[in-house]
C-alpha cells in the first residue's frame, strides 16, 4: 500500500463521500469547528503513511485486539492500516532477528519523524528482567526508541499510568511511559482497552494539523476525556430521579435504571465510552448492564471494590469494634476518676451549723 491515503481507500471501495462523512464525524467528536472536518479530509487524503513503531511491553494485547479487531473492517481499522506500521510484534509477519531489524531500520530511516506507540507498562524491578524483547529490557528499548520519536502515544492504561501491572503490590516495579520519557510530547490514551476511535482520532489530528490534540492534566485528549461517563450516560436521568438498580437482575436493572448503587465508577471516570460506544457503536458496558470500572483513570485497580458505590467506604472500616471499646474504657476510667473526686470532696466537706455562724 503506497501513495496517498485516498487512493488506498478508493482501492478498498471507500467512496470520497464516505470518507468525508467519516472525517466530519471525527472532527465533531473532537469538538473541532465544522471546517476542520474538511481540512482533516484533505490532509488525511494526501497523507503519505507516517512511520509508526508500536512497542508492546508488559501488556495483555487487549489494546491491540481492541483497535485491530473490534472495529474491523470499518474505517477506523483501515485508517489504522494506512499508517506504515513498521514494527508491531503481534501483527507483523516477521519474527526474531528479522523483526528487530525492521525496528532498527524504521528507527534509522525515519529518525525524528516517526510516531511511537507504546502499550503496556515498563517494569523497573530486577533491572527490568520481568519483560524483555530480544534479550533487552523494556526500559532500554523504550529509551532508545523514544529518542528518535516525533511524539509518543501511550495506548492503554498500562502504558499511560502503569495500569494493572502497577496495582498493589506492584511486584515488577511497573511504571508508565511518562514516568520514564520526559523530553517528548506524550499523549495518553488510557482505557482497558481504550476506545478505538480515540486512537484514530488522535492519529487523524496528528496527520491533519501536524500536532497533538489539546490534553488534560493527565495527558489525555480533552476531546475524548473531557467529560465523565456519568455526565454523558444515557442512564443519568434515573440517577437524578433517585432510581437505582439494587441487584443485577431486579426490576430496576431490567428497566435500565442507574447502576450507581452497584458500584458504577462513572462519576469519577473520564472517557468517551458513553458517546463513542464500542463495537461499531453497538453498545458499551453500562448499556449492557454493568457499571463502569473506571479503567481509564490512574490506579483504578486499587480504587476500592468494583461493586461498591462511590459513597461507600472503599474497605470495611476496621475501627468500628476497637474504637467504642476504647471509648468505653476511657469513659469508665473518667467516670471512676470523677467519682473519686466527688467522694474526696464529700469527705473534705466541713459542715457549718447555725451555731457556728453565731460564734
Amino acid at each position: 500500500m503506497q501513495g496517498p491515503l485516498i487512493d488506498t481507500l478508493a482501492r478498498q471501495g471507500v467512496s470520497r463521500r464516505t470518507f468525508l462523512k467519516y472525517c466530519a464525524t471525527l472532527a465533531s467528536m473532537m469538538a473541532l469547528p465544522p471546517a476542520a472536518g474538511l481540512a482533516m479530509a484533505e490532509a488525511m487524503a494526501a497523507a503519505r503513511r507516517p512511520s509508526v513503531i508500536w512497542l508492546p511491553f508488559q501488556e495483555c494485547t487487549g489494546c491491540t485486539e481492541s483497535i485491530t479487531r473490534s472495529h474491523s473492517p470499518t474505517l477506523e481499522g483501515m485508517i489504522f492500516d494506512m499508517i506504515s506500521l513498521d514494527y508491531q510484534e503481534t501483527l507483523m509477519a516477521a519474527a526474531g532477528h528479522q523483526a528487530e531489524e525492521a525496528l532498527h531500520a524504521a528507527m534509522k530511516a525515519n529518525h525524528g519523524k516517526y510516531l511511537l506507540i507504546v502499550d503496556g507498562s515498563i517494569p523497573l524491578g530486577q533491572d527490568g528482567a520481568y519483560s524483555c524483547i530480544g534479550g533487552r529490557s523494556n526500559l532500554e528499548i523504550l529509551k532508545e526508541a523514544a529518542q528518535g520519536a516525533a511524539a509518543i502515544i501511550a495506548v492503554g492504561t498500562c502504558a499511560a499510568y502503569g495500569g494493572i501491572p502497577k496495582a498493589r503490590p506492584n511486584p515488577t516495579g511497573a511504571v508508565s511511559v511518562s514516568d520514564i520519557v520526559k523530553d517528548k510530547p506524550i499523549v495518553n490514551i488510557p482505557g482497558c482497552p481504550p476506545v478505538p476511535v480515540v486512537m484514530t482520532g488522535v492519529l487523524a489530528h496528528y496527520l491533519t494539523f501536524g500536532s497533538l490534540p489539546d490534553l488534560d492534566d493527565k495527558g489525555r485528549p480533552r476531546a475524548f476525556f473531557g467529560e465523565t461517563i456519568h455526565d454523558r450516560c444515557y442512564r443519568r436521568p434515573f440517577y437524578d430521579q433517585g432510581k437505582f438498580a439494587k441487584t443485577f437482575d431486579d426490576k430496576g436493572a431490567r428497566r435500565g435504571w442507574c447502576l450507581f448503587e452497584l458500584g458504577c465508577k462513572g462519576p469519577v471516570t473520564h472517557n468517551a465510552c458513553a458517546t463513542a460506544k464500542w463495537n461499531g457503536g453497538t453498545s458499551w458496558p453500562v448499556e449492557s448492564g454493568h457499571g463502569c470500572l473506571g479503567c481509564s483513570e490512574p490506579d483504578f485497580w486499587d480504587a476500592g471494590d468494583f461493586y461498591k458505590a462511590l459513597s461507600m467506604p472503599a474497605h470495611p472500616p476496621t475501627s468500628v469494634v476497637a474504637a467504642p471499646v476504647a471509648g468505653a474504657t476511657a469513659g469508665a476510667a473518667a467516670g471512676f476518676a470523677n467519682r473519686a473526686k466527688k467522694n474526696a470532696a464529700r469527705k473534705a466537706r466541713q459542715p457549718i451549723t447555725v451555731a457556728d455562724l453565731e460564734k
Binding site: K218, T228, H230, D231, Y239, D240, Q241, G242, F244, F260, E261, P267, V268, G294, E297, P298, D299, F300, D302, A303, G304, K308, A309, L310, S311, M312, P313, A314, H315, P317, T318, S319, V320, A322, A323, P324, A326, G327, A328, A330, G331, A332, A334, G335, N338, R339
Partner: protein, 219 residues
C-alpha cells in the same frame, strides 16, 4: 497522589480514622456524662415530676412567647437548617448507601433535585444565621472560637457536597473527596465540641424538665 487516590484514601483509611475517633469520643463522653449520676435530692419534691421531662423535650423546640419576633433569624433559620441537614443526610441516596453499608439499614431516598433544593435552603439559612451572629452585638459578644469553628465544620460538608454534585470549581472526583474529607473532619470534631448536642440534647432537656418539676415548676 492523584485525585482518585485521594478519593480512595478518604473512602478508606481516612474514613477509618474519622469513624474511629468519632466512636471513641462519643462512647467516652456518653459514658462519662451518664456515670456522673445525679446529686442526691435532699429536699422533699414539691411535685411529682410526671411527664415534665418529656414535655420539655418538645417545648424547648418551640420559641417561648415573643421570642420568635425578637429573634426570627435564630428560630426560622435554625429550623430550616436543622431539618435541611436531616433531609440531606438521611434521605440523600448516596448517604443512604453509606449508612446501609455501615449498618445494614436502608430506606428509600428522595430525588436529587429535592435534595439539591434542601441543600441550597440549608446553606442560605446557615449563612443568614452567620450574618446575624456577626451583626447582633450581643450574639457576637457571646460567640467564642468554638461557635465559629463548629459553624464552619458543619457548613463545609454541605457546601462541598453541593459543589461536587453541581460540578463547580473543581473536578467532581476532587470535590467528592473534599466533601468526604470535610465530613470526616466533622466526625472527628463532633464528640469534643458543642456539636455533641446531637447526642445529649434530648437527655439534658429531659433532665432539666423533671428537675424543674420536682422544684415546683411543672411543664
Amino acid at each position: 497522589m492523584n485525585e482518585l487516590q485521594f478519593l480512595t484514601w478518604v473512602r478508606g483509611p481516612g474514613l477509618d480514622i474519622a469513624v474511629g475517633i468519632f466512636l471513641l469520643g462519643t462512647v467516652w463522653r456518653l459514658f462519662e456524662i451518664y456515670t456522673l449520676g445525679r446529686g442526691k435530692d435532699l429536699a422533699a419534691p414539691r411535685r411529682a415530676a410526671g411527664a415534665s421531662g418529656l414535655h420539655t423535650v418538645f417545648r424547648r423546640s418551640l420559641p417561648p412567647p415573643g421570642m420568635l419576633k425578637r429573634s426570627p433569624v435564630s428560630y426560622i433559620g435554625g429550623y430550616i437548617f436543622h431539618i435541611g441537614l436531616a433531609v440531606i443526610v438521611f434521605l440523600g441516596a448516596p448517604h443512604i448507601m453509606l449508612i446501609a453499608n455501615l449498618t445494614g439499614l436502608s430506606w428509600p431516598g428522595l430525588p436529587a433535585q429535592i435534595i439539591g433544593l434542601a441543600t441550597v435552603m440549608t446553606m442560605a439559612a446557615m449563612l443568614a444565621m452567620l450574618v446575624d451572629r456577626i451583626n447582633k452585638p450581643a450574639k457576637r459578644f457571646l460567640s467564642t472560637f468554638e461557635d465559629w469553628f463548629t459553624w464552619a465544620v458543619t457548613f463545609l460538608p454541605v457546601l462541598t457536597g453541593w459543589m461536587a454534585v453541581q460540578h463547580l470549581l473543581l473536578p467532581y472526583t476532587t470535590m467528592l473527596a473534599l466533601h468526604i474529607l470535610s465530613v470526616e473532619i466533622l466526625l472527628i470534631v463532633l464528640p469534643f465540641t458543642k456539636l455533641f448536642h446531637v447526642f445529649t440534647l434530648f437527655g439534658s432537656r429531659w433532665y432539666n424538665g423533671s428537675a424543674n418539676a420536682r422544684k415546683g415548676v411543672p411543664v
